[in-house]
Structures are given as C-alpha cells and as structure tokens.
C-alpha cells in the first residue's frame, strides 16, 4: 500500500480509537475537568489528526561514499488503487473547503446587508469599558439587525458584534457585550474555524465530526465561565436569565456555524447554567487533564519519524556492518530490508513501494582492467528484485519479504 496513504489512515484510526475511548469515559471526564481544560484535549487530538506522526525514531547516517560505489535511487510512479483513493479524498476535501469558505463569505455579506450601525455613544462607551476591563484592544463595531434572533459575534479578521435589537436595557446589554467580547478575547471563532477545517479534511471520518461538535460545546461553556469568572452569585443568576431570554427566541438563523451565539437546546442550556452556577466543582481537573493527555500521547504515538526522502540520491544510503546472509533480511524494528551485495560495504536503502535503486561498483581485476558492475534493486509490491549486470550479462535474483 502507498506508504503515505497508510500513514494517514493509520493516524486517523488511532485518533478515532482515542475519541471512542474518550466518549465512553465522557461522564467521568466531564465531572472532573473544566471545559477550558477539555478544549486543550480536543485541540491536541485535532492537531494530531492533521499531522501523522509515528513512534519510531529512525536516524539515517549520511552516506559514506567509497571510491567504487555510487548509488542512485529513484522512485517510479505507482499507478494503483491508492492513488484513486487519494484523488477522491482530495477532490471532496477541496470542494467542501470551497463551499465552506464561500458560505462564510456569503453569510457575512448577507448579515451586513441587513444590519445597521448602532451609532449610539452610550453603547460604544460600554463596549470600550468592557474591552478595557477584559483586555481587548481592537475596537469592534456594534451593529443591530432585525433579521437575527440573538446576539452574535462574527468574523476573524474584521470582527463584528451584532445585536437583534436597537434598544436593549443596559444590564442585559452589558452581559451580552461581555460574553461576545470574551469570545473574541479567547479567539473562539478562530478556534471553531480550525476545528471545522480539521473536520473537513477528515471528511470521511464521522468521529472527527463528533470531536468538532464536542469542541464547539466546550468552547461555549468555557466562554461562559470566563465571562462570569469574577462574579458573585447574584450576577451569575442574572447572566443565566439573560441566556434564557436569548434562548427563548425562536432560533431561525442557523448562524452558530460561522459565529458564536448565545443559544442552545434545553439539555445544553442546563449544562451551561450548571457550569456557570457551580464553578468550583472540578478541583482535580488539571491533574486529570495531564493524565488524559499522557494517555492520548502514548496511544497515538508522538515520536518523530525521521525518514529521509527516497527521491534524493546518496542521502539515504548508509554503511553498516556486513550482514551474514546473502538474501535480504528484514529488520523488524526499523522496517528496512538489508541486501548484502557481497561488496566491501553493505548498502542500506529505504525503498518505498515502486522504488528502485541502482548501485554501480567498479571492480578491478588482476590485470588492472576495470569492469563496472551495476546492481539494480527494484521494490515491486514489497518484493525486491536484484539484478546484477556487468554490461554483457545480467543475473536476476528475487528477494522475498
């Protein structure tokens, strides 16, 4: 199988297995970690899903070239089913991506078309005060739009806060702005876009989509916690009621995909309220998180797999001790087949499926005549074919895995 495809699939499977295990332990994890801590976990898994890393550390010593031995290694193009899978994956991923980006842009355009600038100095002052207190330097415009049902913040580069009504009473407005600006401060919209990106790339894997949705929930919960962090019971209760007010509106505009909105269904809402009203229930959270991360690391293998590219000549050839057998001996640990050509050096070459290596050795006989012997090693579907040619005759030997 194409080694790149294998690597990606293996990676997806390990990450998926970890996700399943986490889902099984869901209530334990929820009870012992905060949403903020869990976001690190989801982020870790998402990044891991993007970047296949392997356990094994394999270092290839730079080639020591002897006077008589030169090696060229090249890779034949492989036409088999793996390329088809790759193309299908790539085309669907690209299409989904284009869809996602264009929908995001259209959505923003439409929203702007239906919005008016707030143009209210009191509101702007409130926004500035809140920005100052939570540490946001950017002046985020506040607009209103009768086409949405609850407040939202949208946009990564040019963020906007949009309210559903021109006139909201001040206490509600303060909480709303605090919540949305906290989303901005925590880079939640960027985070959500990242998770969606990973999910689009792994479009074939429903577990990644589940990861994405779980991450979205925790992002919202963590924002709630951050919004009310310094607040007393009464204020938290007030905040909760405002959340319920927003949720009571008929949710018509499904905007939560591209922005962050104050809303949710009953079960999620209860989770949020609980999270806001009982913040200190998870004391061992950091420890649990560390343990989880360690387990996840162990299971998915974060070691660097340093294998040199087979397409550059002379870089992936190393000299090693002579091996005893004339047939190829498979080294289980480093996944390399060693072929002893009976030369003064043993040449170790990493050949992927479909690749071949050419080794030319100059042999000087007793009369001082030089003959060039060419060894060609071909890897076809894991079977190595060794050809030895002195220019006049060619001997072929097949070395099995």
């Amino acid at each position: 199988m194409n080694s790149a495809l294998y690597l990606v699939l293996e990676n997806q499977i390990t990450v998926s297995a970890v996700i399943v295990l986490i889902l099984l332990a869901k209530s334990f994890i929820s009870n012992h970690t905060t949403a903020n801590q869990r976001i690190f976990l989801w982020l870790f898994l998402a990044i891991k899903a993007l970047l296949p890393f392997k356990y094994k550390i394999k270092v290839i010593v730079p080639a020591v070239e002897t006077a008589e031995t030169t090696v060229t290694v090249s890779k034949n193009p492989v036409h088999n089913a793996d390329n088809t899978f790759f193309f299908i994956w790539a085309i669907v991923a690209v299409v989904l991506f284009i869809l996602f980006i264009s929908l995001s842009m259209l959505y923003r355009q439409k929203l702007l078309r239906l919005s008016h600038p707030m143009n209210n100095p009191a509101v702007e002052q409130l926004r500035d005060d809140i920005c100052k207190s939570i540490g946001v330097t950017k002046k985020i415009p506040v607009l209103y739009c009768y086409g949405i049902k609850s407040p939202l913040i949208t946009g990564i580069c040019r963020p906007l806060i949009i309210l559903p009504d021109k006139n909201t009473d001040n206490s509600q407005l303060e909480w709303i702005l605090r919540h949305e600006l906290t989303h901005y401060k925590r880079h939640d919209i960027l985070l959500k876009h990242f998770f969606i990106t990973v999910a689009l790339i792994s479009w074939f894997n429903p577990l990644i989509w589940i990861l994405c949705r779980t991450a979205f929930r925790d992002v919202e919960l963590a924002c709630d916690s951050a919004t009310v962090r310094e607040e007393n019971v009464q204020n938290r209760r007030q905040y909760c009621n405002i959340l319920l007010n927003a949720a009571a509106c008929d949710p018509n505009l499904k905007t939560a995909l591209f922005s962050s909105q104050l809303k949710g269904d009953a079960k999620l809402m209860k989770q949020r309220l609980s999270n806001i009203l009982n913040p200190n229930s998870k004391k061992a959270g950091a420890i649990v998180l560390m343990i989880l991360l360690l387990c996840v690391t162990a299971m998915t293998g974060i070691g660097a797999y340093a294998e040199k590219d087979t397409s550059s000549p002379a870089e992936n050839v190393s000299s090693a001790d002579t091996s005893s057998s004339t047939d190829g001996a498979r080294d289980e640990k480093t996944d390399v087949t060693t072929i002893d050509l009976g030369l003064s050096n043993t040449v170790e070459v990493a050949l992927s499926d479909g690749g071949y290596a050419v080794i030319t050795n100059a042999e000087v006989n007793e009369d001082g005549e030089t003959t060039y012997i060419t060894y060609t090693i071909e890897n076809v579907n894991g079977e190595y074919t060794l050809k030895r040619s002195n220019g006049k005759t060619t001997q072929t030997k097949t070395v099995h895995k």
Binding site: Y146, A247, D265
Partner: protein, 129 residues
Amino acid sequence: MDNEIKRLPDSELEIMMAIWEIGKPVTSGDVIKNLHNEKKWKLTSVLTFLTRLVNKGFLKCEKQYGTNIYTAIIDEKTYLSQENQSFLQRFYGNSLKAFVSTLVENKSISPQELEELREFIEKANKDDL
C-alpha cells in the same frame, strides 16, 4: 389588510434598508447618500427601484414642493422577521441542513423547559459560592 409581504430582491432591499435607517420620509437624493458603502447606483436605477417599491406597497410617494417624498409603509422588523424564514432556507438549502445540524444545536427550548430552567437557576443559588 394583512397580505403576505413579498420577498424583496437584493437591490430593492438595499433601498429599504437605507430608508429604514434614515427613519423619516426621504427624497431619492437622501436614499443615494445613505446607501451602504460601495453602492454606486445611478439616479435612474434608484428611481426605478423606488417606483417598484411603491408598486409593491412598501413605500408611499407624495409630491412636496416639486420633489417626490417617499415614506416607508412596511416597517423593518415586520419585514425582516418574515424574510428570515426564507433566508435560512435560501442560505443553507435543504441539502446542507443535515451538514449544519450536526454542528449546530439549535432546537428551540419549549416554554415548559424554560420554566424548569428558570427554577433551576433559582434553586441552584441557595448556597453561596
């Protein structure tokens, strides 16, 4: 008379947004000045749109001192809350609803559930934090 309000095409909607934003009777000149950002429509286009809006029953047109004054008859809230339903459908289309719904949890909360949640808030605060 409660007719179903017709959905406006984008250009006419732009005009109405400008008029609603101004908030009082306007001339065509006022409208042009108040259009969002880059709209560089010619006066003739704007006049066409205004006429269409009058015919559709969104605006009332009166002549005052030789110029036409337009007043909004249908208010913004009424229009946009109705437009919203089709906006959702138009925006996502039915085929994408499945895709979006896996990521967005937007089932509305019933009044009964709301009541229970409000009680939950009240009860949860018997002990101080």
